[in-house]
Symmetry: C2
Subunit: 400 residues, 2 copies
C-alpha cells in the first residue's frame, strides 16, 4: 500500500526511561520498537530484573532491547543535576516509582517541566498520585486481588485464583504507552508538554465490565465459573478435554451453533429447539456433557481443524513452549530468534504495526551503564574530564 | 501545576468507530474520554452488545458514552458511498471486523486513504491481517487458550483455567488505542496518515515473559502454581485465607520480608537464615503453612492494615461489588454513579490522566441511529431531502 521503509512513527522522539519491572519498561519497549530513542536510566545497582530468580533474565532481555543504557545515582546531587540536563533535551520522561519518590528527590513534573515546557512527564504507579490509596505499595498480584480479577477466576466452588501471568503489570504498561503518545500528539498541536498519569488498579478495571454487569443484574458478586462465561451468556463457551490436550470452543452466535452441530453431528445436539440461545442456556449442563464426551475421543488438532473449517470459533489450548514456537507469530516476524549463553530464545516485537514500515530489528539490551559516557557527551555536551569528575563524585555509580 | 481546564488532548480529533464488542469499542472509548469526537457507526441491527445475555447492557453503557451514534448499511452501495464521504472528513477510522470484511466491501485502507491521505486507518483482529492464521475466527476465550495464558492459570495439578474476565479483548483494545495515537502523532510530523494494525494474540504475549523465561530455563512448560509465582522467585508470593476472606501478600525484597516477620511476629519465621530469598525458596511449603495458620485467625482488614503499615505489599482480595464501591476509585473520579432503569450503576472513566484537564464527564451512549441525520448534515453537507432519499434506498437502515 505504501512504499516500503517509511521511518517508524516515533523516530526522533527521545525518551528518558526511569522505569523498572515491568510496567514502565513495557511502555518504553513499545516506544523503542515504534522508533523512539530510549535511554534507560538505572541506579548504580541496576534494574532488579537484570538478576531475577528462577525465571532468569529473559524478561529483562525481552523488554530492554533497542534501548541505550546509562547509570545515574539520583541520591547524589550531581546525579540529579545530570538528570535535569538530560530532561532539557528529552521529549519524554517515564517513571514508575512510588508517587512520593520523584518529588522527594526534587525531580517532580513541576521542576522538570519548568526546565523544559515541551517535556511529557509520565508517571505510573499502583493507585495513582492522588486518592486515599496513593501511598500504598502495589505489585501485580496485589492488584489482581484488589481489582476483582481474582474473585472471578477459578473453579465453580473453588478458591479465587490469579491469572497465571502478570496481566496487571502489562495492561498498565500498555495504557502508560497510550497516555504518553497522546501527550506527544497534543504537543504537536499546542507546543506544550504534559504530566500524564496511570494507575494499575484503574488500568485493569475495564475487563471487569461483563462481570460487573452481571453483578448489577443479579445483585450479587458473580460466581467463579471455571472456563464458562461469567453469566453463561453463550453456550457453549468453555474448554473441553480432547484425547491429547484441551480445546476452547465458543458459539457466540446461533449461526456458530448451527455450524458446530452440523460439522460435529453430535446426536444429542441436533434438537431444533437448541438453535435458540435461551434454550441452550436452560440445558447447559446436558450440552456441556455431550460436547465433552464427543471431544474426549478426538485429538486437539482434529477438533480445532474441524471447527475452524466450519466457521466455529475454536482453538487449541497451548503451553508456553508451543506459543514460543508458533509458526504464525514467526511468519509475521513478531517472534524472532536470538542467541543467548543458554541457547537461542524467541523474543517478541511490538504488537503495533505501521503499514509501510518493517518491524524494528530487536537488539540486545545495554550492559549496565554501557552508554553513560556517550549519552552525557551527546546530550549534555560533557567532555571526558567532566564525566570523570562526575564519576569521581559518585553521580554515575561505579561502572567503568 | 498547570492552570485548570486545559482542553483534553484529543480535542478536535474525529473518529469513525466501526468497532464492536469489546476490542474496538474500548479503544474508541479511550479516545472519547481523551476528548475525541467519536462517531459510532452501527449496522441496522445495532452493535450486538446493545442486547446481551444475562450480564445486561452494562458493558455497552460503559464503553459507548461520550460518542455520537449513526446507522449505516455497508451492504448497500449508497451506504458505502456515505462511509467514503465521512472518511474524507475524519482523522481516524477504527474497525475490528475479520480481516477480509472491509476489503470485500471495497472499503480497504487503500481505498479510503486515497480519498483522504491524512486518515489513520486502524484494524484490529484476532491474529492480524497476514500470516497463516489471518482468517481464523477469534474471541477472548480462544485467544486466552491459544496464547498460553490459560496454561499458566489454575491450581497446581489442576486443569488450565481462563482469567475470569476478558483480558485479551481489553488488552488488545489498549494496544489498538496506542497504535492509533502513535499514528496521529506521526501525522503531525509528516502530514500523512497510516494504516495501523493490532492482533489480539500478539497483544497478550508480553505478560507471558516471566513464564517463558522459566520455560527456557527449565526446558519444560511451567506448571500451574495456584497463586504462587510461576517460578517461586519470591517467597511469600501468594494468597492466604483470613477469617473472613482472602489476602494477597508478596515479599518482593528481603526488606519486605524483614518488615513482614517483624510486624507479624510469626515465631516460625524469625529464623535469621530465612532473610535470604534462596533459603525461603528452599523452605517455601513450611513458610506458606506458617503464614496460612497466622492469617486464619485474623480478619482480612487486620492483616492488610498491619502489613501496609509495615511496608509489606499486601491487599484484600475483593469481589466485584466491593470494587464498584471502592472509595479510592470514587475519590479520584474514576468511578462515577449513573442512573439506569434498574437503579444507579458505577461506570469507569479512562485510566489515562492529563494534569490540568479534568476527566471528561461520561454521558449516556447514543440510541441506535440517534445522530444519523445530524452527522450526515454536518459532515457530508446533506439536506433533509437527500437524507430521506438515502434512507429510502436502504443506506441508513430503518431507524427514524
Amino acid at each position: 500500500m505504501n512504499t516500503p521503509d517509511i521511518p517508524l512513527p516515533l523516530k526522533g522522539v527521545r525518551v528518558l526511561d526511569l522505569g523498572h519491572v515491568f510496567q514502565g519498561p513495557y511502555a518504553t519497549f513499545l516506544m523503542a520498537m515504534a522508533g523512539a530513542d530510549v535511554i534507560k536510566i538505572e541506579a548504580p545497582h541496576g534494574d532488579m530484573s537484570r538478576r531475577r530468580g528462577r525465571d532468569g533474565d529473559y524478561p529483562f532481555r525481552a523488554l530492554n532491547g533497542c534501548k541505550r543504557g546509562i547509570v545515574l545515582n539520583l541520591k547524589s546531587e550531581r546525579g540529579r543535576e545530570v538528570l535535569i540536563k538530560l530532561a532539557r533535551k528529552a521529549d519524554v520522561l517515564v517513571e514508575n516509582f512510588a508517587p512520593s519518590v520523584m518529588p522527594r528527590l526534587g525531580l517532580s513534573a513541576d521542576v522538570l517541566m519548568k526546565e523544559n515546557p515541551r517535556l511529557i512527564y509520565a508517571s505510573a504507579s499502583g493507585f495513582g498520585r492522588t486518592g486515599p490509596y496513593a501511598d500504598k505499595l502495589a505489585l501485580d498480584l496485589t492488584i489482581q486481588a484488589m481489582s476483582g480479577l481474582m474473585s472471578t477466576t477459578g473453579e465453580l466452588g473453588g478458591r479465587p485464583l490469579k491469572a497465571g501471568v502478570p496481566v496487571a503489570d502489562f495492561m498498565s504498561g500498555a495504557h502508560l504507552y497510550g497516555a504518553i503518545v497522546t501527550a506527544l500528539y497534543e504537543r504537536g498541536v499546542t507546543g506544550l508538554g504534559r504530566a500524564v498519569e496511570i494507575s494499575m488498579l484503574e488500568s485493569v478495571f475495564a475487563p471487569l465490565l461483563p462481570a460487573a454487569g452481571h453483578a448489577y443484574a443479579s445483585h450479587t458478586p458473580p460466581r467463579r465459573t471455571g472456563n464458562r462465561h461469567v453469566a453463561d451468556s453463550y453456550v457453549p463457551f468453555d474448554t473441553f478435554e480432547a484425547a491429547d490436550g484441551w480445546v476452547a470452543i465458543v458459539c457466540a452466535t446461533d449461526e456458530h451453533w448451527a455450524n458446530f452441530t452440523g460439522a460435529t453431528g453430535i446426536a444429542a445436539l441436533q434438537d431444533a429447539s437448541l438453535r435458540q440461545l435461551k434454550a441452550r442456556i436452560a440445558r447447559i449442563d446436558e450440552i456441556t456433557e455431550a460436547i465433552a464426551q464427543w471431544a474426549s475421543t478426538r485429538t486437539r488438532d482434529e477438533i480445532t481443524t474441524l471447527c475452524q473449517a466450519s466457521h466455529v470459533p475454536c482453538a487449541p489450548l497451548r503451553d508456553v513452549l508451543e506459543v514460543l514456537d508458533d509458526p504464525h507469530l514467526r511468519a509475521r516476524g513478531f517472534l524472532t530468534e536470538h542467541p543467548t549463553h543458554a541457547g537461542p530464545v524467541a523474543l517478541p516485537n511490538s504488537p503495533m504495526r505501521y503499514e509501510g514500515s518493517p518491524l524494528r530489528t530487536l537488539t540486545a539490551p545495554p550492559a549496565l551503564g554501557e552508554h553513560t559516557n556517550a549519552v552525557l557527551a551527546e546530550l549534555c555536551g560533557l567532555n571526558d574530564a567532566e564525566i570523570a569528575a562526575l564519576r569521581e563524585a559518585g553521580a554515575l555509580g561505579h561502572e567503568t
